[in-house]
Amino acid sequence: MSRGEALETGPATVAPAAAATTPAAAAREDAEVRATRGAFGRLLRSELRLVLGRRRTQLLVLLLALVPVLVGTIVRATVDSAFSGQGPGFIERVSGNGLFLVVTALFLCLPLLLPLGVSIAAADAVAGEASAGTLRYLLVVPVGRGRLLAAKAIAALTLVVVAIALVTAAALVTGWVYFGYGDLDLLSGQSVSAAAGFARMLGVAGYVALSLTGLLAVGLFFSTLTEVPIGVIAATVVVSILSNVLDSLPQVEAIHPFLLSHHWFDFAEFLRAEVSWSLLGQGLLVQLAWVAVFGSLAWARFTTADITS
């Protein structure tokens, strides 16, 4: 039985242990399991309210969503100037087709801003709660440590998904208003309809969100190690930068396929006529491995840690 399982309230009554095997007892256990599920939903909703309701977080997400608005506005303003079509990534295609603003915005956010957002979400989840001293009060309520960590991981992931969704939405709206949508010219030269292009952009956003799960797990593990949230943010951002640096060094080519960020920019697959699902699958598999390893570490640490804050 897990620590957090729902229990009957009030003084326990005494009955032979064998009673647990009777149908009535089994039915009650079923009811308890159901109650536990309901209770986890309640815990998760409360956690989501806290995470999504935090002013600082809302402001950060809003700033992130301003990136496509800003880029779109700059492209629009310089469309007839000498700078037209210059810049990183897919920016030269934006003025021709507003849909490209989605890839452009995510391309610009992926190296630093999104990892920073992931780090903040991870830092707030456990270390933030420890530094505020609220962790000890949650645990003596009581709530099972594994359950609490699971709820916090889901809430942090939700925050990341919401942030990416808002960036995508802001890019779609800005792109449509400034440049309109048209048939999407793929990297390989062919083109697909605007509707298919729209769907591909959603694919890009979804892949980027899933690509960040490994880093989130790393951040959550760091978060269970300390009660200093800013330390977690710094360490997690450093991990993502380090991963990008290593990925750019041919000397360590052997480890490239296992790096957190190696497959991050494979979202460009969605812009090819033949999307290489195996490549995208590899990218997601790498994320899954990082989530498994660091999720387990976070769980092992958090379920045994002394809470002294």
Binding site: G4, L7, A12, T13, V14, A20, A132, T134, P142
Partner: protein, 329 residues
């Protein structure tokens, strides 16, 4: 496992009559830096007691409480709450335990009420249906109803402490563990906390209340345990500790009668008689208090004042340790 199971040692669950509500055996905590914060203590808090858990700053009270509640793992020894072993029995037993640990802590940007809603939502065994009412009652009880919608960060220290108490009272509790509940409160707030403790005890709850201020606790507790440098120096019923024969009788009289009063005391069998200004003091010992005044009157000593002084916990502590109640490393 169902809640109807028996304990591994064969004893019945939970509320067996007479079983201590809090118990520990050789409970020890050595932190990773080598500091032994708690050093093999055997606590025993009987049902219905108001147990004053006393000791200077740094003597290991909070660490003990953290171990009892399952926040910190003991290096050695065992602990039970309401008959359940901790920390393994936490899910079963903690819903019946309200706790304040090392001061209140809440989300600063949520209101007092939203903070309590959060704690209640986390509680898998709390009936959701009654949540709003229970939260309202708890806020009412600590006098925070009017400020319930204010963000926590705007609360004064006293209001924060009250919200901490409200959180401990969200559900009916059999045991309340209150770590320094009067910290940071003004004298009025301290009195209110004492009143609340008495009230809760009156309703049948057992209360473990820690303090580094002996005088704040002296007046409410039925039992005391005194910590010093991680060790439990002494514990037991309050009255048994401040033993009756340690009480002093002090008589105020006219300067000319001091010697006579002193002789009378000696004749009665009082010990450690001392004259100080216009008063004569002596240890009461086994002498009945009722005999003192008549004897003085019979000897012609004008009794201007007669007072009985029981040793305070402070006196007791000094007696036990030969030292003052100072911070220990």
């Amino acid at each position: 496992m169902t809640p109807t199971a028996t304990r591994p040692d064969g004893a019945l669950d939970g509320g067996a009559v007479g079983a201590p509500v809090v118990r520990s055996e050789g409970l020890t905590k050595r932190f990773r830096n080598g500091q032994v914060a708690v050093d093999g203590i055997d606590l025993e808090v009987p049902r219905g007691a108001v147990y004053g858990f006393l000791g200077p700053n740094g003597s290991g009270k909070t660490t003990t409480i953290r171990m009892l509640l399952g926040l910190v793992q003991a290096t050695a020894g065992r602990a039970w709450l309401l008959g359940e072993p901790m920390p393994d029995g936490g899910a079963r037993v903690l819903p019946r335990v309200g706790a304040l640990v090392e001061g209140p802590a809440f989300q600063p940007y949520l209101s007092g009420r939203a903070n309590l809603e959060r704690l209640d939502a986390v509680d898998a065994s709390a009936p959701r249906r009654t949540s709003a009412r229970r939260i309202g009652d708890a806020l009412e009880r600590v006098g925070l109803a009017a400020a319930a919608r204010k963000p926590y960060r705007q609360y004064s220290l006293g209001m924060k402490q009250r919200l901490g108490l409200a959180a401990a009272l969200l559900r009916p509790r059999e045991l309340l563990v209150l770590d320094e509940p009067t910290n940071g409160l003004d004298p009025q707030g301290t009195r209110e906390v004492r009143h609340l403790v008495r009230e809760l005890a009156g309703e049948g709850a057992t209360i473990l209340v820690s303090s580094h201020l002996l005088s704040e606790i002296d007046q409410v507790c039925t039992h005391v345990g005194v910590m010093r440098q991680g060790r439990l120096l002494v514990q037991g019923p309050r009255d048994a500790l401040g033993t009756a024969d340690a009480a002093q009788v002090v008589v105020t009289t006219e300067p000319g009668s001091l010697a006579q009063a002193r002789e009378t005391f000696a004749r009665l069998g009082l010990e450690e008689t001392a004259v100080d200004g216009e008063v004569v003091a002596a240890r009461l010992g086994a002498v009945a208090l009722a005999d003192v005044a008549p004897a003085l009157v019979a000897a012609g000593v004008p009794v201007l004042g007669l007072e009985i002084r029981r040793p305070t916990l402070e006196d007791l502590f000094v007696e036990l340790t030969g030292q003052g109640f100072d911070v220990s490393g």
